[in-house]
């Protein structure tokens, strides 16, 4: 067991973890943060997307033991902070979530577009979301939601 201390959604946590524990199991099983999902556990589906030290990562490919001192933000923390409330409202308005299993990961990835690519085109949004698998929606409503949020934020910034 390896001792780690890190910040998760702004709270400091200390735990002992098995070397093989990946970040999603750590969040879900050790911290009860069930908003992050495991869809494949081999790095393809993006359901496990969370933010570590400001960048999005696949939680299933990161070992918790490597995160001593890290700062982790999950969908729960991102939602509570209000950072993407506008994006989430667009998701609701367009029904950009059906079963919702992909949605936390989608929102984390979309938040990354909002932060780093404020000028993203529709094609670039589709490209950027392409690491996140959604079986239900056909993606269009998700792309629409991100595009609308970007446009709204650009408009507000211009004012």
């Amino acid at each position: 067991m390896i001792p780690i201390t890190l910040t998760v959604n702004g709270e400091r946590v200390t735990r002992h973890v098995e070397p093989r524990r990946h970040l999603i199991d750590f969040l879900r099983l050790d911290l009860g943060l069930t908003g992050s999902h495991a869809g494949c556990e081999h790095g393809v589906c993006g359901a496990c997307t969370v933010r570590v030290d400001g960048e999005i990562v696949r939680g299933c490919l990161v070992l918790a033991a490597s995160l001593d001192g890290a700062e982790v933000t999950t969908i729960e923390g991102l939602s509570d902070s209000g950072e993407v409330a506008d994006l989430q409202a667009e998701f609701v308005a367009r029904n950009a979530a059906q079963c919702g299993f992909c949605t936390p990961g989608m929102v984390m990835t979309a938040a990354d577009i909002l932060r780093h690519h404020p000028q993203a085109s529709r094609a670039e949004i589709r490209e950027h979301l392409s690491g996140n698998y959604c079986r239900c929606t056909g993606y269009q409503a998700i792309v629409d939601a991100v595009e609308a949020t970007l446009a709204q934020r650009r408009q507000e910034a211009g004012r």
Binding site: T34, H37, C40, H42, Q88, V92, F101, G138, A141
Partner: protein
């Protein structure tokens, strides 16, 4: 139907603020989904819960010689190991046949096999431990001695002499065969102006729900009850299955299904590993959780659509279709899947080929055989994408052979919109369809002339683009003719209970379930509309056999049509009851009152008279002030089942605009359109999103998705890196239009909408690709349309 008409309850008007039917109301469930606050089965944690992992057969077919468990039991955290024999002590096997599918046969299946494994990935031994990780450690420590047996993997040889008979007691590998005939096929084809034929292949693929199959079973020895938390589409069906096979009373089993992370038909079947979990909980008297990992999903979720179809079409010189002649062969794995059976998909191909068209002569045979691969069963749009690909593929080829435009050819042959009711050559009864109106609507949306001009211009530059069409029909709202008459305890009826609480809020409990398609949202809309309250005042309960009226769940697109009608009827009954009480309180005739936005109002003037909260206060706390014999049950239940038609057919048409790179064989879908007629649209936003999601699933099957087996029956596609699914960058924008032909079977008039996209998309794409390839003399009919297959058709490899 009584004197209530759709107009009398405001179904066709939006003049009342609570006229929600037909409105794009956002789903109340979505905020929790976007904030990560949903509760999927794996999120549920129970006291003393253990975790199961399975050793799965590495062989397609092998005898189990011995199972050595000592090392597994010595693994830290491992609590117990179960073999097939241990499970069989408390659990009876099943045989998945339906009586109305004449001559159907299958073998008894145990949760864990007793002697032989018959597909790679079949669960064989279970390890139960304190954590999933420890259970997997235990599995790794198991030692099983196998005697590999020859595997029967090729469906083409399944009935040939020398085939490996997978279950010797059945005599051969034939599960089911059926031929439908109408008219005189031989004569029609002999006399035809042209006969066109082709062989189509639809690839074995699977649902890939992002949330894998998940279950927690908890047996309480004190009261003898089994509580199962399960990601399922049919809680009541599963309640019956667990009770029957674990020898419990149905009333002692409760199935709870909270949020479900996608289902698409994958989660409506009985899986041996899940029944084993319930059996282990029964034996241990503790909760046991099992969540499939992605490898397990690929090897043990049902597969589907493994068909080879030889088909031909006969046409006369004017372009009229004379007949279809279709021979379908499908391999379904080693067992028919319980309890819906694996013969339904082939049977649907027989029912649906040629469906949109007016013709007389028909012959279609399906032959359903066993093989040593994962079992197949019903997956979204069961059989429809296959029948549509065959029908629409042949239709385009016939038009080409006649030198006709594919739209003009369809115009001549689609069943006229005024020709209903009508029975198809395969015996399907259509109440009312709108093929021509749908085609008209589609042509308003698709800029055909512009596209054809672009196509010609691009061709001149060596860029090959094509436009493809596909008309389709879809079977929804099934009656007991689908499963019930075959002896399966699968309810075609559904119920809803609507109640008003003291604060004037409404709660509806329904037997249909939510998997993301928006069932709960439409139930809330219907209840709000029917009672007369703001939709925010409605709470919905689904997915709990102990707290909802008995029902079939959600499959075959029955949520809106069946569950929605039960909701409407019970909501109207509750409104009538509210008005009776209000009439007594206000000294007014109930007919002079109405309920609008949570207020009892004067019907003529709209003047508010009494809030529902005040009415609730009086009824629940001061009932002494009401007339002594006034009925005051502010709770009403109604059930609904279709009666006139075995199924409510819907219809529609899709168009696909795609580009084929003739150097690489890559296909890019540029744009896609769908017009569909699902009867009354309750929530256009949700229907459009169902259609889009369904189309992308259909495009996935046509372009990428394939469960690839080698000749020995080893599954080669067991990760998401090998089995490709559509991602956002590859998918086009999709335009959706509607024609509404409500069913007269119900007040609501809704038919199903969830499978139409998947039914038509592969055919539309196939026709688009072949339209693109036509100048090069190439054609593809074998899905998925991979670069290799396209380059092969072009003669480049």
């Amino acid at each position: 139907m009584n004197e209530i008409t759709p107009a009398s309850i405001g179904l066709s008007r939006e003049d009342l603020p609570n006229s929600y039917i037909g409105r794009s109301v956002p789903r109340p469930n979505v905020p929790k989904l976007v904030q990560g606050r949903a509760t999927y089965t794996d999120d549920v944690v129970l006291p003393r819960m253990l975790h199961a992992a399975f050793l799965r057969s590495p062989h397609a077919h092998a005898r189990i010689l011995s199972i050595e468990t000592a090392a597994a039991l010595a693994t830290p955290g491992v609590v117990r190991v179960f073999t097939g024999r241990d499970i069989a002590e408390v659990c009876d096997p099943w045989v998945a046949v339906l009586d109305h599918l004449k001559g159907m046969k299958s073998a008894p299946q145990h949760p864990l096999p007793l002697e032989r494994a018959t597909w790679q990935g079949e669960p064989v031994v279970a390890v139960v431990a304190e954590s999933r990780a420890a259970a997997e450690d235990g599995v790794a420590a198991l030692r099983v001695e196998w005697e590999p047996l020859p595997a029967q993997t090729d469906m083409e040889t399944a009935l040939a002499p020398g085939a490996v008979v997978i279950h010797p007691e059945l005599g051969d590998n034939l599960v089911f065969t059926r031929t439908a005939t109408a008219g005189d096929v031989e004569a029609a084809f002999a006399a035809a102006h042209k006969v066109v034929e082709a062989t189509f292949v639809t690839a074995r693929h699977t649902g890939v729900t992002l949330e894998p199959r998940s279950i927690i079973a908890d047996y309480n020895r004190a009261d003898g009850t089994l509580t199962v938390h399960q990601s399922t589409q049919a809680p009541h069906m599963m309640q019956g299955v667990f009770a029957k096979h674990l020898r419990l009373r149905e009333s002692d089993v409760r199935v709870i299904c909270k949020d479900v992370g996608g289902s698409f038909g994958i989660k409506v079947h009985v899986y041996p590993d899940e029944v084993a979990v319930a059996a282990m909980a029964r034996i241990m008297g503790r909760p046991v959780k099992f969540v499939a990992d992605r490898f397990e999903s690929f090897t043990s979720d049902i597969h589907a659509r493994d068909h080879r179809i030889k088909a031909r079409i006969a046409v006369d010189a004017q372009g009229k279709i004379l007949g279809f002649d279709v021979d379908d062969l499908t391999g379904i794995g080693p067992y028919s899947v319980y309890p819906r059976t694996s013969a339904i998909e082939g049977n649907q191909v027989v029912n649906l080929c040629g469906g949109p068209y007016d013709f007389v002569n028909y012959r279609c045979t399906t032959t359903v055989v066993l093989q040593n691969k994962a079992p197949t069963c019903q997956y979204r749009a069961v059989g429809h994408p296959i029948a549509t690909a065959v029908t629409e593929g042949l239709v385009d080829m016939a038009a080409e052979a006649l030198g006709m435009d594919p739209i003009a050819f369809r115009r001549i042959n689609l069943i006229r919109d005024d020709a209903y009711p009508r029975t198809s050559p395969s015996g399907m009864r259509f109440e009312g369809l709108s093929h021509h109106a749908s085609l008209d609507k589609l042509l308003e949306m698709v800029p055909v002339e512009k596209i054809r001009a672009d196509q010609a211009a691009q061709r001149a530059r060596g860029v090959y683009r094509g436009l493809g069409f596909a008309s389709f029909i879809e079977l929804t709202n099934p009656s007991p003719f689908m499963y019930g008459i075959g002896g399966a305890r699968i309810s075609a009826q559904d119920g809803a209970t609507v109640r008003m609480d003291p604060d004037g809020s409404i709660t509806i409990a329904s037997g249909v379930t939510e998997q993301g398609q928006g069932t709960e949202a439409i139930l809330a809309q219907i209840a709000a509309h029917g009672v007369g309250v703001p939709v925010e005042r409605v709470k919905v309960i689904t997915g709990d056999t102990q707290n909802t009226p008995y029902g079939g769940g959600t499959w075959a697109c029955r949520g809106a049509g069946i569950g929605g009608e039960a909701a409407l009827q019970s909501a109207l009954a509750l409104r009538a009851q509210i008005l009776e009480v209000a009439g007594a309180m206000l000294q007014a005739k109930p007919e002079t009152l109405d309920v609008v936005m949570g207020e009892v109002v004067d019907r003529a003037s709209g003047t508010p008279r009494l809030s529902l909260a005040e009415l609730g206060r009086i009824v629940y706390f001061r009932g002494d002030t009401l007339p002594r014999d006034l009925p005051r049950e502010l709770v009403q239940t109604r059930h609904f089942i279709t009666k006139e038609y075995p199924f409510a057919f819907t219809n529609g048409i899709q168009a696909c605009w795609a580009e084929v790179d003739v150097e690489t064989g890559m296909v890019k879908v540029l744009e896609h359109w769908c017009v569909e007629d699902c009867g009354r649209v309750i929530n256009p936003l949700l229907v459009d999103e169902q259609v889009r999601g369904g189309i992308v699933q259909g495009l996935g099957g046509a372009l990428y998705e394939h469960c690839v087996y080698d000749a020995e029956g080893n599954l080669l596609t067991t990760t998401l890196a090998d089995y490709l699914v559509p991602m956002s960058a590859e998918m086009p924008d999709i335009h959706v239009g509607h024609v509404e032909t409500p069913t007269r079977e119900s007040l609501l008039g809704a038919k199903g909408a969830g499978e139409a996209g998947t039914a038509g998309a592969p055919a539309a794409l196939m026709n688009a690709i072949n339209d693109a390839l036509r100048p090069l003399g190439a054609r593809v009919t074998e899905q998925p349309f991979t670069p290799a297959r396209i380059l092969k058709a072009l003669g480049r490899i």
